[in-house]
Each structure stands twice: as C-alpha cells, then as structure tokens.
C-alpha cells in the first residue's frame, strides 16, 4: 500500500492532477443568492430545458515570429472569431465570421529600410512597445497579450453584432467572459462560459465549497463587480464531471449572466441546460471536461479556415523519414 492510499483510506479524496491555470489574482465578488455560498443540485438531464435555437461564439489566435531585424522579432499574427447558430435539428451553421491578419512589430526600433518595406507591404500593423525588444521572453509575452487583446476585441464586436440580431427565443453562448462588452453583458439571453480559473472570486468556506462542488451541482450566484474594462455580471460555478480522482478544477465551469434578479431565479434552469450540453463529449480536446462540444466546433471551424502558414507547428522540425 502506498502512503497516499493510506490517506485515502483514512478519508482523503483521491486525486490526479498537475499544473493548474495561471493565477490572475483575487477578484471582488458579492453573494447575491442566499446568505452563504451553497451547493445547489441542478435539474436532472431529462428535465433540462434546452433552448430551441442557440448561437455559439468562439475565437482563435495564431502568431509566430517570422523575421528578425537584429534582435527585433517581427510577428505574423492571425485572429478569427465566428458565431454558429444551432438549429432545431442540432446542426451548427455559421452566421457571423470575422478574421484579421496583422503584423506585430515595434516599427520605431526597426532599421529604416526594413521598416519601409514592411509598411509598404502590410497595411495592418499592430504597434508594440519597443522597450522590451532586448528581453526576448518578456517581449514575446507582450506579443501574446497584444494578440489576445486583439482577439478579445474581435470577439466583442462579433458578440455585439450577434446580440443585436438575436431572435426572441434565441440565446448566445460565449466562450469566455461576458463582461467585456456592456451591451452583451446586459443582454437577457447571453451567457459566458469560462473554463480557466486563474481569477479567484471566493475565499474561505465558500471557496472550498466551490472547488469541491459535486458533479451535477452549482454554487449560489454571486456578483462580479465591474471596472473600467468590465461590466458587472452575475456568476456561478457549475460542475459537469466528478472531480474526485482527478483535480479540483476538473469539469468546473464558471458561468456569467447579466446582473439581474432573473439570472438568480433561473440559475438552476440554465445550469440544467448547460449540464445537458455535456454530450456530445468535446473529445479529442484535452480540456474536454470543461469544453462544450458546440464551442469546440466553432473553434474547429475557425482552425480549418486559418492560414496554412500559421497552422500549429509539429512537435519536431526534423524532416520526417517516411510516410
């Protein structure tokens, strides 16, 4: 018997995990449902009320360093987002789609000749702080955040365009934060599904209840305060798959809806819908336990349309020796 088996026999929960999501710091949240954060069972799958028509929004980003001007790394970037509407037959069809190809480069740090060539051949150049070029690792982090910000902007535009024309009974499900756009965040039929849990909204007993939430349960609803880049939304955690035997974040989603009492009233019903979205499994994605299949499909659709020169690189750059 191993030592951890002894612990499990004594009452510990078996686990199997590794590196968690990157920490993003503590966020302020206020409970809006009950006096204490509780676990609430959601309706069984058979009783789930899945909206007849739902649109799903997701986006992708691709970038790679394609040239060096001295130590200045010039980046070729591509972002894309799409909305695909699911009809009554369960088939997804693209309704909105937008993409952008651009260059990320500190043009003021480039040699004049190369800068001229770049500016003549590319119209879309995203400027970046040139002070970091001497620190390649930090420079690339900056590039990544720049591309991600551009993608978030694109997704926000698309979400606003989509919500503007959303049907009376139609819902919009966004992969990521709902709170980036005030228009979208206040829409009565828009939800954000967050898979990464770097930001921490709870602490103490509430945090423990959220992280050990049994599958098929949700937490009480809490309010996520807004800021200059964010609109206040209501949020709750939902466990899709049992975490026991895996890790604390396994199958855990955080849902965002508009900050309105109706959201609290409907939290269980909406959770029942999302619980029904567990099937089909979003395999073979590694995060399938937190990824809803239709959102994965939007991502796969965008990947299929992505430029070939920005497809994900193979693990090895050595030539293959056979077919």
């Amino acid at each position: 018997m191993t030592w951890w088996q002894a612990l499990i026999d004594a009452g510990a929960v078996p686990g199997r995990g590794g590196k968690a999501d990157e920490p993003e710091g503590l966020e302020r949240a206020d409970l809006v449902e009950g006096a204490e954060l509780q676990a609430h069972p959601i309706p069984p799958r058979a009783n789930a009320r899945v909206p007849a028509v739902v649109s799903f929004l997701n986006g992708i980003e691709r970038w790679s360093v394609v040239a060096y001007d001295g130590v200045v790394q010039i980046v070729n970037a591509y972002i894309a987002a799409a909305v695909r509407r699911r009809d009554a037959q369960g088939v997804l069809r693209t309704t909105f789609e937008r993409s952008r190809r651009f260059v990320v480069a500190p043009v003021e740090r480039m040699t004049p000749a190369l800068r001229q060539i770049l500016e003549q051949s590319v119209t879309d150049i995203e400027p970046i702080d040139g002070e970091l070029v001497g620190q390649p690792a930090r420079y690339l982090e900056k590039v990544e955040s720049t591309v991600r910000r551009a993608r978030a902007h694109l997704e926000r535009e698309l979400a606003e365009a989509c919500t503007a024309g959303l049907g009376a009974e139609e819902w919009l499900l966004i992969d990521g934060l709902l709170s980036r756009s005030p228009t979208v965040a206040r829409h009565p039929r828009a939800l954000g599904v967050i898979k990464s849990h770097g930001a921490q909204f709870l602490e103490g007993r509430g945090l423990e209840r959220a992280l050990t939430l049994p599958a098929g349960n949700r937490t009480s609803v809490f309010a996520v305060r807004g800021g200059h880049t964010r609109t206040e939304v209501y949020s709750w955690y939902l466990r899709l798959w049992p975490w026991e035997g895996n890790d604390l974040l396994y199958g855990l989603l955080r849902i965002e809806g508009r900050a309105h009492p109706d959201t609290v009233a409907r939290a269980s019903e909406l959770s029942g819908w999302l619980w029904a979205e567990r099937a089909p499994l979003a395999t073979p994605a590694t995060r399938w336990n937190r990824l809803l299949y239709p959102l994965q499909q939007v991502e796969e659709y965008l990947k299929a349309l992505a430029p070939r020169d920005l497809q994900l690189q193979r693990a090895s750059r050595l030539p293959r020796t056979g077919t």
Binding site: R45, V54, R86, A276, E277, L281, T283, Y293, E300
Partner: protein, 657 residues
Amino acid sequence: MIAPPAPPVTPIGRVVATELKPSTPHQFHFWTATDTSIGIGAIVKVEGLGAGGSGLGRVVYGVVTEGFAYSDLATPLHDVVGAEGDPTRAEAPTARQEIRYWTVAVLRQTPEEPLQPVPLGQVFVADDADVAQALRMDAYLYSATPTAIPIGLYTSAGLEAPVYLDADFLVGPEAAHLNISGMSGLATKTSAVEFLLASIFAHFPAHKGRVAALCFNVKGPDLCFLDQPGDLSDEDRRRYERLAVPSTPFQRVRLYAPLKADGVNLNTLRTHPDLVGDVEPLTWGLQEVVDYAEVLLNRDDIDAKADAFIDFLRDRVLGRAFDDGFGTTHRVQTFADLDRLFRSIFDGLEITAGGRSDTWRTHHIATMRKVRNRLLNISTRCKGLVTDDGPSSDLPWKGFEDRTVYVIDIANVDPLGQDLVFARVVSKLREQLERRELGVDAVVVFVDELNKYAPGDGPETYVKKMLLDISERGRYLGLVLFGAEQFRSQVHRRVVGNAGTQVFGRMDMDELATPGYQVLTPATKSKLATLPIGELMVRHPHFTQPIFVRFPKPPVLRGRDGVERFPPAADVPFDDAVVRQLVRLDRRIRPNQVKDLIADREQDDVRRALAAVRRTRPDDALAYFRKLLGARVAPDASVPREHHAVPPLNPISDEPY
C-alpha cells in the same frame, strides 16, 4: 436523342486528396453535404481549378463506387460516456459533425492525354450530355451513322439520362453477345431481354441491315405472349418515350411448338382458342435428325465405329435408292423406312448368312444395333417433335423476316429433344448466315438457363460446344447470343467472357462472393444484392465502369399473366384437333366435312395427310387432304431435300478467352 445541355448547376461536393487517400488518374474522393442526392452508381463530373490552377480545362467523369460516413467521434466509448451509458440519453442537443465521403472510379478524362491525377476541383451531378461523354457514347450517338441502342435510363441524383449500347459491340462485328445473370424471379432477366429486343428492333441502324430474334422458351409460358400487350404504368410509358422505343408489343411474332404425342395437339401453353391459331407446329423427320445424331448419343456412345456407321447411313443410304445386299432395295426417308432397313439387314445376316457372319459392309452388328436403338429411340422419347413416319414442319429457313421474333416453345419437351432442337436450329442459323441466305443479316438467339446448357463443369455436350462456337465466332456471322442464367460463376467462362455486354440483375450474396466479382467494391456488391426489380447493372466495352440503369416494364404480356388472361385449352379430341389445323389453313372448311372424312381412318394416315397439307399449303386444303387420305401417304420424294453437313466445331480447349 440527348437533351440539350442544362444550365450551370451548383456543385454538390469537392474533391479531397490526402497522403493516405490521394487522387489518381483512375480514382478520386470527394465529400458532400450529409443531405445529398448522391449514391452508389451516381455519375459525377469534376471541373474547376485544382491547386495552383493545375486542373484548368480538365474535366473528369466518374461513377461513385463507395461511400463512407463518419463523425468526429474519437472512439465509441466517448459516446457511451456522453450518454452516461444509457442509450435513451444518446440524443444530444448538438449533432456531431459528420461527413459523407465518396470514392469514385474515373470513367473518362478530357483531354485524355496526358493522363493525370484528378484535380482537386468542384464536383457536379452529371446531366444527359455528361452521361454521354462519361460513357463514351458520343462516338456512336452523334456520328454520321449512329449505332446507339437504348438499354435503359441512368437515374440518380434526381436526374434521368438515356444509356445507349453500341450496336457494333452488341450485335457485331466489333464485339457481340449479351449475358444477363441474376436471382430467379427478382432479376427480371427475361423482361430485360424482351425490352432490349424491342429497343434493338426500334433502333437497329438501317446501314447494318435486317435483324431478327430467335428465342427458345424453356420455362413455362415465359415467351409465349410476345405479341400481346402488357399492362404498362404511365411511368413506364414515359420511360419508353424518353428512350424513343415504342411501348407496343412485338408486331411480328412467329411461335413454333412441337406436337404432343398424339401428333395433333400442340405441346405449348399457348393453346387458348383465340391464340392457338398463330402457333406453327414444329415437327422433324429422320432427315432433320440424323445430321445431329451426335446430340442424341451420349459421349460414351460416340466411338469411331458408331460414328463411321452414322456417316455411312448419312452419305450412302438416306434419301437415295439403296440395295441392302440381301435382295431388297430401300429408299430411306423416314424412321419407319430406317427401321425396315435395319430389320432387313439383321434378318439377312440371320437367315441368308445362317448367323455365321456378324458384320455387314464392315460394320459390326453390335454397332449397328446400338445406332439403331439410339436413333429409333428419339422418335419415341420426342414423339410429337420427331415424327416416326412423315414429313417435317420447320422454321422458315431462307425466309426470316426483318424485325421478327421467332419463338420456339420447347418448355415441355424432353431434355434430349430440347438439345436436338437447339443444336439443329442454331446450326441451321449459322449455316445460312454464313451463306447470307437466311433473309436477315443478324439474328439474336436468346437462351435462358445457361447454367444448364453451358455449365462451367460437367460433360462436354454438343450443345455446350455449339454455345461456345457462337460465343467465339458468331459475331463475324451476325449470330448473336443473348444468354441468361442465375449463377454466372457456374457458366462456362468462355461463354460468359465472350459476351461483350454483361448485365446483372439482383444477385445472391453467395454468388457475389465468387472470384468473378472481385473487381466490384463492397458497396456495389451490396447494391447488386438489393437491386429493385427493373434496375440492372450494365458493363459494355465503351463503359470503363459498370453502370446502373433502369428499364421500363416490357410492352408485352408476361407469361404468367398470359396464361391467366388466355388460359390454355384442354387437349381436344383427335378429330377436333385435325379440324382446327385444317381450318387454320383454309377458313372455308367446315368441321363436319373433316370429321366425316376421317371417320374410321387410321390415325397415322390422318396425321401423315395433315402433315402433307401443312407442308404443301394447297389452295383447296380439304380437297388435297381428301386426295391424300385416299391412299397411303408416302413421303414426298419430289421435294428436293437439301443436305448440308454441319461444319465441325472447334474442340473445346482450356485456353482462356
């Protein structure tokens, strides 16, 4: 014959090629929407640019031979997990991404050179003009002297296009013969042949001359009502119109049937009073039979001695005055004459030679007894077909008419008699076609049940040799074999292999598992095993891949419908049968006149007189009949009887076709 090109249509798929499943010059793959009209057997066209414009100007036609559907499900276990192990929960809000992926065998590329892999272009459903291009029908459809014969309609993907065979490759001389196989009752083999004969008669090009068909009816009433209209649906009539084939029964049908043992009633199921008048009796005498003695003798019998004795009879005895060496002169023209000759010889050996000699003109008495028994036995076993003592009633040799179907009903004849009929008729056809004196330039011979007449194994019978001979050399003569069978794999491979056009109806899965079908994909085999009635798969020299076609119901009364509408009459008494036959020859004759005339007469005398009237066809049949009855009706020696030896057949070898 082909409708004008349709306006541009939207693509229904795109060619895809991967390292594992690349496009080649002979095969490619494409995907379609999950809801598509494409299916196995559909003809498609690839057009448009491939990568980098590599496919510019190239058009590829192909036929779908295999189909696949799959989703993005990595493993079935994931579906189980998603449904929590409960099949009733398997319905998910989102349908998994699916693909319909098709494999296509290339039919044709334009330009044909250089032959290159199929470009990654757009895929379209083929229209009429595309089908003509894809199947290379344009060469014989649009030429100055078209030779196109419609065989059916290609119906797939909501389109309908006529499919034509090339008469030069169906009736000769480039290739010839047609073989059709399929399950009994479901493959509609007979119907297909009936339709195709109607199509040949309607479209056989004038520059190729005159054509007739000769069908052996070997099963029930199958081919007995080709001149009677069948019930056609509006859809069938529309298809006839589309194929430009008249939806009417055959205008000229001549039906022949042997007589029954009584010598007056016809041995056929077409004996209804309204129709029996159109049936000609088929009866042969010694002269017609002896040339085909080999058919009557099994292989063990044919030794050199028997063969030599039959040749002796044929060359020295039959039809001429012959002295038997014991003081009697014979003129052998009938089986009865032959029997008298044999008796005279045997008596002569016994009495004159005192039993000391057992040879006569170098022929041993045992050999002569064996030949006598075999020859005379045929007049017993095939009584009605072979007359013991009397003249023959035969097909109109040298007088075959254009666009006429000759049906010989041998369904109820002893197998030995069937062999005899087949061997003699085909030999005469070959002989007269060779001399260009048959009256037509080409004859389609339809033989059903090839499994029985030309099996792949079993003894080398005379009939099998005949079929092989037609298969291998008939196309030069205009002698075309349309053969049908249930199991193609069990028919002699040279008979099947020499058929330029192969047609398949619904097939048995066991048959499809035999090596002859290895070239077909599992999907094509599956389609063949479930083909609906009226649909066939066709292989033709111009088609590089098998094509599925639909043909309309034949415009004739089916056999079993015919016997329901025209129930066979019971055999009539001897005197009524004689009356019926004479009235058919001369409608002025009153039955009582005939009955009074034949009362108290020997039936054999009456039969002989009747046969003579049938053969002579005098203006006043009754007077002639009365005159003949007055004395013994001797065989008519004044009628010149041609005697052409049948050219020897090639020995059967094991060489592949």
